[in-house]
Amino acid sequence: MISTSRLSATDLAQVMVLENQTFSEHAWSEDSMAAELDSPNTHYLGLWKSQRLIGYAGAASAPGSFSADIQTIAIASDERGHGYGRRLMQELLIWSKSVGAEQVMLEVRADNPAAIKLYRSLGFEQIDLRKRYYQPGDIDALVMRLEIQQPVVLGIESTCDETGVGIVKGNRLLANALHSSMDEHAKYGGVVPEVAARAHLEAIQPTLRKALAEANLTIDQVDAIAVANGPGLAGAVMVGIGAAKGIAIANDKPIYAVNHLVAHVGADVLERGAVQLPTIALLVSGGHTSLLLVRDLLNDVVLLGETIDDAAGEAFDKVARVLGLPYPGGPQIDKAAINGNPNAIRFPRGLTLPKDMEKHRYDFSFSGLKTAVARHVEKHQDANEEFSVADVAASFREAVVDVLLTKALAAAEEFQVPRLVLGGGVVANARLREEAKRRCDKAGVELRIPRFALCTDNGAMIAALGAQLIMAGREPSGMSFGADSTLEVTQVQSF
């Protein structure tokens, strides 16, 4: 019975036995091998015959490099000639594709024709010759490369007030076209669903055109369509679904219905080639305030908590209005808070009292905070007292930022996850970014914030999640899915 499994440092002893037998004086040291097995950027596979390790192979890909390297491959001398090397290589190529590699490189001894033959049969081509690379013995190294075609995916986002069409190739961003109807919502002080849906219908053709032009592609060069089918405003989402299905049928492309919130987390693949996992994700926008534990982007996303009333971005909008500032409130509050004292007024931190923490440990509430700010302002206005708008803005903002980050870092600690990725439009808030950096540094948590255009709602993140599904070998969604305004984060793909 032959089986393969992913190796870790616990397999080091068995690996070293085979390593020393196979490579003798060229064998890697135990320390180097341990580091290889442990690295987050490598993938080592063991080949087992019952309990005996009879082969192993490893590949590495630095996030964001779009390239993978075959690091080593070894088959026990008495087990060669059974196609085991091919089996390990094929699995490493699947892994290389799944992490976004567009090419796989390897070096092989020129005096090893069996290996060279194997690599050629897998599609590798020699691109270079390194003279006398292997010493002693003056053996040349062939440098070989396999090109991998990553899927080109066009993604459509229409869950709120942004019409987004993005195009990616694997983990590579090719286009991110956006049309926002934010200005049309300004006079209402918040996003109006019907206004948003109307704007999507008007924007869909020009945004589509812009994305294809930006990527310098025709629709024929696109391999698949992805669309966010929720969570979001149902009437708005449906416009995107209609458009996506139209493109899919008109051009005979498979279609993937993906989760908008999971796509926010996945946006980081466009920055760094892969989402380092596990990670805590804090998604904060005008429509969402969600804290997620992500162990696997496609298979294991858990909602730890979310707002039980207003989204954080909504609170910024409402408080801006209380202060007589225009919509959207986030940048206005940021501006007003300059020179304000964040500790001037101790506004409440929602759901942080011990009694709330039992039931709502990772949930958020901002409606009480908004009311507290309004009371404070009305009290002074009624008494004709001067008050500092800067202090109110800074203190309000501090309360939001404090509760968001306290809960996010508490989750990082409880689940022993030393990473935090931020997403959503509220990430534009300068104080949130600054304080997140400070607190993460202090807690030893790695902080990731994708560039702003990938933090706010956008089509590229939808395309990227679609590409991740394809790279993982998932089937398309078919034609019968609909909009789900309350889609759960556990459902990454809908059918």
Partner: protein, 202 residues
Amino acid sequence: MLLAIDTSAGSSAAVFVDDELLSFVSIEDPFGHAENIGNVIAQALGEAKVSHTKISAIAIGRGPAPYTGLRVGMATGLAMAETLKVPTFGVVALDAVSMLYANQKEFVVVSDAKRRQLFARSYRSVGPEVIPTPTSAPEVFEPAEISERFPGLEVFQTPCSAKEVGHYAFAAMREGIDLSDTGALYLRSPDVSPSAGKRVTG
């Protein structure tokens, strides 16, 4: 080959070649537009035994109709046309249905506007197979207002579908009627008014 799409009532698609209806697929579910639209189009193309690459024009019903569903079919048609680089014809649903009554002299076509109201437009017939001439603008009415506004006229309420949209598009091409407006025909403004903000204390 013309593909007609309409989601003003149910979801439907029809395939025509030179005004001849090759296939018509309709799902009458008044809510499942997003779920159904892809299937009805794919099925209509399949039944007509024509490849998607042969589509040379797309006609879309632009309402008036309940907007959430209406927009699904419009978005589908617009996105198809954009990527296929083919022209789009925008067809007013009431006008499309008026073709069914071209043998009447003067009449009114109404359709469900939700909230117990009706969309309505009046027409005068010119002759069989010719597009009736509209004699009023499309408007929203209370049901009782129809007979006051259009005294003595017979009222027809037939839901629109891709079949009527496609037939109308061919007739309009023959008669030189402009169908270049492919925006939704909204007869109500978004149901919202700017709020001044409420006090939280007494």
